[in-house]
Symmetry: C3
Subunit: 273 residues, 3 copies
C-alpha cells in the first residue's frame, strides 16, 4: 500500500511550494527532489499567490518566521485552499515564543491543513493553546513511549477531528492519525535527532506525498514518515567510524533518492491503533 | 584556451559579491572558493554599494527575491556598472510570477549585464516578455535538442545582440553565445538536475570566471559552463551504489576544487555554431 | 583541562540562540549539535527576547545583517545580558562596509560580550574604529605570524581589557586572550580557509562552550578553538584524492561529533603568552 504512494510521487513529480526557514531550506529542496517531486521556494507576499498557483501543494514551516513571511504564509495558504491544493503545516517551535504560537494558531484558524506535523510539544501547544486551558494537559506526557502511547493516539485523533487535518507527531515513536485511525510507526534511528532539520525535511517530503496522493492523505503521510524512518536506518548502516551527523545528513537524503517502493514497503514497521 | 580561464581565476582570486537566494547560498559560496575565487554575500541596500566596491564582480540571482532585496539588486548593479565590474544575472523562475518577470526585466533595463544565465524558459521569458508579443515564440521550443539547436542558437545570438550580454542557456545541451558566435556544450550528466541549485552554483562560478577574464567574457562563460559539466561527469563517476543527490552535490563541488586547467581543457565537449 | 570543557557541553546540552547569517546557518546548527549542545535560530524582533530567555547562551553573527535583524541583535543581546547569558559576537566583514562596522560598534556599546571572535582585520576594525585613530595601527600587522605574535597578543589583551570580553583572533595562529593571559593555538589546517563559514561555525560552537562553562570563559573559548583545529586536522587526514572543500566541510563537523574529551586534550597544540 505505502509503496504505491512513493511510486505515485515519482510518476507525477508534483511541484511543491515551500515557505520555509532558511536553516534547513537546502536540505528540504534536495529531499523533495530525492523523493521524486520538485521544489520551489518563494516567500514574498507579492508573488506567493502566483507561485502557489503554478504548484500542486504547499508546505508552510514557521522555523524562522518574521513579520514579512507570516503574511505570505496566510496569503499562500488561503490561495492553496481555494485551489484545492494540500497544505502542510510544520509549527516549528510553537510554544517557544508567543509569536510562533500565535502565528501557528492564526494559520490554523484561517487555513485548512491537510497535515500538521510536529513534535509532541509543538502539537500540544497547538491543541491546547487556543483553549482556556493554560499549561500542559496532564494526560498527554511530553515524551511518547509504549506506556502513554494509547493516550497520545487518542489525543492525536481528537486533534485530527477538531482540525480536519491528519496529525503527525514524530519522535521515538511516530504517530500519524486522522480522527478514526492511527499508525504508530517504529522506524528510524535515535541519531536522526542529531541532524538539524530532519523534521523540516519530513514535512517537505510529506507535502510531496500528500500532493501526489490527495485521495488518501492519511496513508500518504504515513508513507512519508515511514520513508524517512527507513532512510534513517539505511543511512545509519552506512556510517563509518569517522562519519558523524553531517555525513549522516547526506546519507539520509541519498537513501530517499535510492529508495524503491519495495524497500519502503518491506522496511515499514508499524501497528494500527 | 579554456584552461587559461580557470588558471586566471586561481591566480587572481577575485572577490565576488553575491545577492542570491537563501536556498543554495552555501553551495554558491563553496563553489566560488572551489574554483579559486572568494565570495561575499550581502543584500542590504545600506551596504551593497560599498560591498560591491570592494569586490571585482557581482552575481545577481533572483531565486528568493523580496521587496527588500530587489532594491539592493538594482543599487548594486548600477554601482558595479559604474565601476566596470562584470555583472551576471540568474533570472531564477522568471515567468513563474509577475514579480520575478518584472524584476528581471527591470534589472535588464537598468543594469548592463556581462552574462545572463538561465534555462531556456527563463531566457525566453526575458527575451519575449518586454516586447509586445505575449506567450512563447513558436520558433523557440522549450527543450533544446539536436533538432532545434540551430533555432535556439540563433535566438541566443539575437538576444545577446539586443542586450549586449553573453547568453548562457543551460540544459541537456548548453548554449553560450554572443551576437556572433555560439558554443554548444555537451558536457554534464542528467543527474545534475536532481540537485537543487546547480544552476545557481554555475551562475556564481561564471561570475568568478568572467571577473578574472574580463577581456573575453564569451570564452570565460563557456569555460565556467564546461567546468561545471566536466565536474558533473567526474563526480558521477565517483558515485557508489548508496550515493544519491546529496552526496553528488558534494562531489561536484569537490571536483571543481580538484579540477586542473588541463582536466578542463581535455574534458571539454563542444562545437561552435 | 580543556577536556572537561567539552565534557561539560555534552553533559549540560545548553540551548543556544543564534542570530546568524543565512550563508552558513545550517552548518552552524549542525556543529552546535555535533559538540553536544542544541541550536535555535530566530531573528524576528517580536520574539527574540522570548527565545533568548528559553536559551542559555546567544550567538550574534553579522554576516548577512539587514535593517530588520540589526534591531533583533540589539534587543536579544540586551536581554541576554539581563539574564546573565553569555553572548558571543562574530563581526563578519566589519571594516568592509560602514553598516557592518557601525553595527558591530553599536553592539559593543550596548551589549556586554563574553567573547568576540573574528579574523585579525575584523578585530582591528572594532578596536580602532571607535577611537579617533583612522586606518590601521602600524604595530598590528594584518597577518599573524611568529614575527608579530607578541604584538598581536598585546593588542588582543588590550582589547580584552577595554571590552571585558575574551578576544579570539583566528587565522594561521589563533589567539585567545583575556586582559592577563593569551593562548596561542597552532591547531588546524590551511585548507580550512577553503570552506565557507568555518569562522561562523567556530563562533557558534564557542557559544556552546562558554555557555556550558560560564565560570571560565577564557579556557572554554580556547577549548572551542582547539576543538575546531583538531577537527580540521582529523578531517584532513580523512580526505581522499577526489575529496575537496565540500566533503571537507562535512568531515570537520563529523570530527566534532566524534571528538572525545581525550582526543581534544591530546591534540591541543598551544603555548601561553
Amino acid at each position: 500500500m505505502f509503496k504505491q504512494m512513493l511510486a505515485k510521487v515519482r510518476q507525477t513529480c508534483p511541484l511543491i511550494h515551500n515557505i520555509t526557514n532558511y536553516v534547513t531550506v537546502n536540505d528540504c529542496a534536495n529531499i523533495i527532489i530525492a523523493c521524486g517531486a520538485s521544489p520551489i521556494m518563494s516567500d514574498d507576499k507579492n508573488e506567493v499567490e502566483e507561485i502557489t498557483s503554478v504548484c500542486a501543494g504547499l508546505n508552510i514551516n514557521i522555523g524562522t518566521l518574521n513579520s514579512r513571511t507570516i503574511d505570505s504564509m496566510l496569503i499562500a495558504g488561503k490561495k492553496a485552499n481555494q485551489l484545492g491544493h494540500p497544505v502542510v503545516l510544520d509549527p516549528v517551535g510553537a510554544g517557544a515564543s508567543a509569536l510562533r504560537t500565535q502565528t501557528a494558531l492564526k494559520l490554523l484558524d484561517e487555513v485548512r491543513f491537510a497535515v500538521i506535523r510536529g513534535n509532541i510539544s509543538e502539537i500540544k501547544t497547538l491543541a491546547l493553546g487556543s483553549g482556556k486551558t493554560k499549561g500542559v494537559d496532564a494526560d498527554v506526557a511530553d515524551k511518547v513511549s509504549e506506556q502513554n502511547l494509547d493516550n497520545v493516539v487518542e489525543f492525536a485523533k481528537q486533534f485530527a477531528k477538531k482540525t480536519g487535518a491528519v496529525i503527525a507527531i514524530t519522535g521515538a515513536i511516530d504517530i500519524v492519525a486522522d480522527s478514526q485511525k492511527a499508525y504508530c510507526i517504529k522506524n528510524g534511528h535515535p541519531m536522526m535527532s542529531d541532524i538539524t532539520g530532519t523534521g523540516c525535511q519530513l514535512s517537505a517530503m510529506t507535502t510531496a506525498f500528500v500532493t501526489a496522493n490527495k485521495d488518501n492523505v492519511l496513508d500518504a503521510t504515513a508513507a512519508a514518515v515511514i520513508s524517512m524512518g527507513v532512510a534513517g536506518e539505511i543511512a545509519h548502516g552506512r556510517l563509518s567510524a569517522m562519519d558523524g551527523n553531517s555525513s549522516y545528513r547526506n546519507y539520509i537524503i541519498d537513501a530517499i533518492y535510492n529508495m524503491t517502493p519495495d524497500m519502503l514497503e518491506k522496511g515499514a514497521k508499524y501497528e494500527v491503533r
